[in-house]
Amino acid sequence: MTVSINSIKKGIVIDHIKAGHGIKVYNYLGLDKVDFTVALIKNAPSNKQNKKDIIKIENAMNIDFTVLGLIDPTMTINIIENESIKEKIKLSIPKKVEDVIKCKNPRCVTSVEKNIPHIFLLFDEEKLEYRCQYCDEVYTFSEV
């Protein structure tokens, strides 16, 4: 089966999602709660990846690309207008992640100080580890 983006007039196509990760992206974006057309395509054939997931969103919406990069930096985002690709965004592993997770270290200032940003900085790109900006506690990608 081939997947065409021509069926979208205006919206977003998230392509090259690692097979099996599509549902994570779908859940993170809260697409189960929206009232416009959304398609989650699993295990689509791919030259590069053998198999991939794709999400097609028939609507403009604000997406935090930082977090998507954290879930899967190999994804590409295609912004569609008038049935053609207006912009192609390549994701990368974010250097900084803000207000996505909270530090679990009970000694960290974020456990007592309200209204401050929870910031994690990339510490090891290979191991996908992040460090709390305040207390240096290290978290792996899966925890993030």
Binding site: R107, V109, Y134, C135, D136
Partner: protein
């Protein structure tokens, strides 16, 4: 140019900037009277959310000796903190009254938060088991004045290396000097945190070994940096009781040491250094405490741009 800057962790300043502080400290030690009016009209806010003797007194004495004034609290119960005021609001308010602030806090990263919301320089005077950069300045000045240089040393850090914030800051700072080797001596439960090993030591190709026996490693050390197993860092008293006397430096252990080895300790000590060691010329921890005041005078003067 250090005027207006914060000191949250040792890497905030370059080696050249640290040298500038040490040179000024040397000059103050040489001729303290010349500096007694440098901070006239300036106010230091001393925000101590946790008990402290040396750090608080040395900062306050430093400001008074520079001709400045001090406001603040030595326990949060005597401030609006006890009413639940945030660190951000406290520092914004304090910024209205003082020219520079010093913060000691049990929570890791608290001074970092203060620096994000402050209009005046913030100095981290110790945050939980995390960092203690002004103790590091003290340690480096002591090494520099005793050995004539900071590099070319093998330093043994002994005791609580997990929660020992003074050790974390010192390792970070020393990692930027030439030919520094570390011997990290601790019980297995109190080993140095992974992020220090990986990000500071391994990333910079610095030679280090981890060990559990003090005596076996004494002979190779130029500096022995003793630390206290800190009761206040444990959630579980049983663990503290089991580990508190892991290492006690006694005269018989000193037999194994080089004749010019320096014994340093950030203090307070409990029983990890036997009092008999105090008369050994290699014991420099009280001298170190005095240098702490001078280096803080130099730091305050630099951050306020008066020297």
């Amino acid at each position: 140019m250090l005027e207006g800057r914060h000191l949250i962790e040792p890497m905030d300043f370059t080696n050249e900037e640290l040298d500038g502080i040490f040179e000024l400290a040397d000059s103050i030690i040489e001729d303290e009277k010349s500096y007694m009016d440098k901070c006239r009209g300036k106010i230091l806010a001393s925000l101590f959310y946790e008990p402290s003797t040396r750090t608080r007194f040395s900062f306050e004495a430093a400001m008074y000796r520079l001709g400045g004034q001090v406001i603040g609290f030595s326990e949060p119960s005597s401030s609006s903190v006890s009413k639940g005021e945030s660190i951000a609001d406290t520092i914004k308010t304090v910024s209205c009254y003082a020219d520079i602030a010093v913060m000691r806090h049990p929570k890791e990263g608290a001074p970092k938060v203060a620096s994000m919301y402050s209009d005046i320089p913030v100095i981290n005077a110790g945050d939980g088991g995390h960092q203690h950069p002004t103790q590091t300045l003290t340690d480096l000045l002591t090494i520099r004045r005793t050995k004539g240089e900071i590099g070319n040393i093998t330093i043994g850090c002994c005791g609580d290396l997990k929660f020992g914030r003074t050790v974390h800051s010192l390792i970070k700072a020393l990692s930027r000097y030439e030919n520094v080797k570390f011997v990290l001596i601790s019980p297995s439960e109190l080993k140095i945190p992974d992020y220090i090993k990986r990000e500071v030591l391994e990333k910079n190709g610095i030679e280090y070994v981890e060990a559990e026996k003090l005596e076996e490693n004494m002979g190779s050390l130029d500096i022995l940096y003793m630390t206290r197993v800190q009761k206040e860092r444990f959630f579980n008293e049983e663990d503290y009781i089991r580990l508190k006397d892991s290492y006690i430096l006694t005269p018989d252990k000193m037999e194994y040491a080089k004749k010019d080895m320096m014994v340093l300790h950030p203090l307070p000590r409990v029983n990890e250094i036997s009092p008999e060691i105090d008369s050994d010329p290699r014991a420099l921890y009280f001298k170190q405490a005095k240098y702490g005041m001078y280096v803080r005078m130099a730091l305050i003067a630099k951050l306020l741009g008066v020297c």
